[in-house]
Amino acid sequence: MQTFDEALTEFIERSRRLLHKESPEDLPPPHPAPPVNTDAVAVPGALILTEDLIRRYAYAIGDDNPLYTDPAYGERSWLGSQVAPPTILIHVRFPADHGAQRPQGYPVANFLSGVAWEFYDVLRPGMRFTSSKIPRELVVTRGRQGKVIFHHSENFYWTNCGALKAKAYGRLIHLPVEQMGGTRVMPVERLGERMLYDVEPHRYSSLEIDKLGEALEREQRRGARVLFWEDVDEGDELPNIVQPPYSIRDALTYQSVDHGLLAALDGTRLVRAFRPAYLRSRRNPAFARTHPVTGWPYTPYDEHEDRHLAPYRCQPLPFDFGIQRAQAPIRLLTNWAGDNAFVHRMYTTMRRPIFYGDASIYTGKVIRKYVAEKTDAAGRTMSYAAVAVEIVGLNQRDEVHCLGYATVFLPSAALGRPVLPVPHADAPEYVPFDVHRRAEWF
């Protein structure tokens, strides 16, 4: 049996050896026919965009914009068809890499800590995708909570016609947890010894209820009304968007679209219920938790959703999936900018979890206004009327849970509507973390 230190060293070394190679994660489920070449790059995705799936996805991220939910509305729009929120690509390939794997796992609790998107075009019904995910940087630092491993990766998303539609840069934090010993799962008797936060579910006062209720009522969407670039000033504030207290249903939104589309990290079908989940637990001990109440040692790993299991991730309460905050803020941008705009870049970094019962308020401010020049592989250049937006996500205690930036291309009297696709190199180069995290990149 390895010690904690030995296991951690092995994890870092093995994860480093995986840098700059295609990630084995998020393959399509082992669909038996036709046989899928699991070594293929680009990796085929199982997601098929249909009108219904796009609608469901839009609902799952809290956006009932008719551009996403009503094919007839989409057809009347300048885009000529229903389109999908571009962040739906997380269901093609998760935009972060979990590093080296083994059946018993490694003693780290991981959290998605940031995703930077770069979108080149809209996504429409009928599209299918291929992708590539390559881990690029692994940085070990020492933080307030001890050693921290930052793991950066790069994703490409192509349609099945070969058109590159988007890229994503993801950052996963691995926090070494000594209580886990040499494996991913700490013994049940050590549960609660290490907690990353000391919080109780928030109890709402009538004042807070009124304030949030009013904010929810106030949300408005610009829709087809054009917001001209010339009418925007630096310092303009975007109307807030609000998510009411996080509940178990919110925890299911992401998975309701995702479940079954991607294989488990070991490439097998991700089974999570009843006997197949038990058998999986026997094969992959990292999947199983001993339930602190029932004592059943083969309980699947629902650390995000189940209050009894959250302490296995050093969390005192059920908590959100970081990936949800790599999607939800796009509504902040599109509600403000309207149907005629195009979100080219969006970056969010997750500062602390949204816990069970936490509300979420996203604010935005225009921090820069400029003309962006974009050039394709053939040297053709297009100009875009661009604004950079700063994004801040707060909870009901006014604690910052999310920070980020975005680039939005707006229609302009001088340049017209944003021309799509946005020109780009055939294989745009990796944008390192230290670049894509800064306001200047937007």
Binding site: P32, A33, P245, R272, R275, P318
Partner: protein, 395 residues
């Protein structure tokens, strides 16, 4: 106490009165689910019941089966529409809760990969019913019809019991989450390790089956949140983020309540079937549709690929709670032939299925009618028109 009884009685009466208008109409509380038996929809459904039968998961295996393609489990129709209407219960404020008590479905044919599916649920009756201790109850009956590629092929009905919530917001006796001793764990591990695989391609012949024969036992659980979550995905209804659900609850006054943990006043009572924080210390419990699907799996597991589940009726006697284990066992209770309107003779058996929890308490009782192949007589589908029992009385 007497005053409580009067209030409960009034609320039940009000529900019955206001449901009058929807009798004969499309159920206002049944949201459409999936509309195609795509691989992803079927595999999610099979995953949710832990059904590892390759006939429902493996396209190549299905192509080599007697059906020439992959099938969906029969209960997959619940992902199209779930016939568990509680009438207008969702629409008005009250302190009542609806619980699925029984569900009956019958099929004329299988669901094949790629089939376009549709369904419609009607409220057929809302009436007062007698309950233990003289407490007021209402019974809502709903019926469902399913179409496959535009043609009717399955139907059924459901009974939902509407009862007053207790002071603590629950509707059934409370019990803390069950704790298993090491010996219990060991026994359950043994059961799971030795559970028989689905019968698969080896036909179970009608003439080889005897009344009294037992089906292999199946252990489900201990029930986890993952099991409950996967059922939500299997059901195929959109899962809306909090802001959209908040707006939706404005129309669903009967589901809107305050979250007991946070006090947030616009919380969906339906989340008690999932939320381990809000239901502490009891934990959530499994929806009736999942129980129906588990009973169906028990039958299809036993009958083999070449057989056909014609009918399944389930009665739920108490909740399948978070942390509970459910043991399903079955017995062949009848064996007979019946002829349809195309003069096809079907070789039928009736199974009685029982589901008991780790305390030995009955959770579900089911009856299934299965058509089995016999020597030289494969099951012929679809079943056309009504069936006539060839020998209506036992010999």
């Amino acid at each position: 106490m007497e005053e409580d009884g009067i209030v409960e009685h009034d609320e039940i009466e009000r529900l019955i009165r206001s449901s009058g208008r929807v009798i004969g109409c499309v159920a206002p509380d049944v949201e459409p689910g999936v509309d195609v038996a795509s691989w992803i929809n079927v595999s999610r459904f099979a995953d949710a019941s832990g059904d590892d039968n390759p006939l429902y998961l493996d396209v190549q295996y299905g192509a080599g089966s007697v059906h020439h393609t992959m099938l969906a489990p029969p209960a997959f129709v619940l992902a199209v529409r779930a016939p568990a209407s509680a009438g207008v219960l969702d629409l008005a404020e009250h302190r009542l809760t609806g619980t699925l008590r029984s569900l009956h479905l019958s099929w004329d044919d299988t669901v094949r990969l790629g089939d376009a599916l549709a369904g419609r649920v009607y409220v057929s009756d809302v009436s007062r019913c007698l309950a233990a201790a003289g407490r007021a109850r209402a019974r809502v009956l709903s019926t469902v019809e399913y179409q496959r590629n535009g043609v009717g092929f399955a139907r059924g009905w459901a009974e939902v019991e509407v009862a007053p919530l207790d002071a603590d917001g629950s509707s059934s006796p409370r019990r803390s989450i069950h704790r298993y001793e090491p010996a219990d764990v060991e026994r359950m591990v043994r059961e799971l390790d030795t559970e028989q695989p689905p019968r698969g391609a080896v036909p179970r012949l009608w003439s080889d089956v005897a009344v009294g024969e037992a089906t292999p036992a199946m252990l489900k659980g201990p029930l986890t949140l993952a099991d409950l979550e996967l059922w939500v995905f299997a059901e195929g209804r959109p899962v809306r983020a909090g802001n959209l659900h908040h707006a939706r609850l404005a129309e669903l006054k009967g589901r809107r309540t305050a979250n007991p943990v946070t006090g947030w006043p616009v919380w969906d009572r339906a989340e008690t079937s999932l939320d381990s924080a809000a239901t502490d210390p009891c934990g959530p419990s499994a929806p009736g549709g999942l129980l129906f699907t588990l009973a169906g799996q028990h039958v299809t597991h036993w009958m083999g690929d070449d057989a056909f589940l014609r009918q399944l009726s389930l009665r739920i006697t108490q909740p399948f709670r978070y942390g509970d284990a459910l043991r399903l066992t079955g017995t062949v209770v009848d064996r007979y032939t019946a002829t349809d309107e195309a003069r096809t003779r079907h070789h039928a058996v009736t199974l009685r299925v029982a589901g008991r929890n780790q305390l030995g308490e009955s959770v579900v009782e089911a009856h299934a009618v299965v058509f089995l192949p016999d020597r030289g007589k494969p099951v012929r589908l679809p079943v056309r028109g009504g069936l006539t029992c060839d020998v209506p009385l036992e010999n």
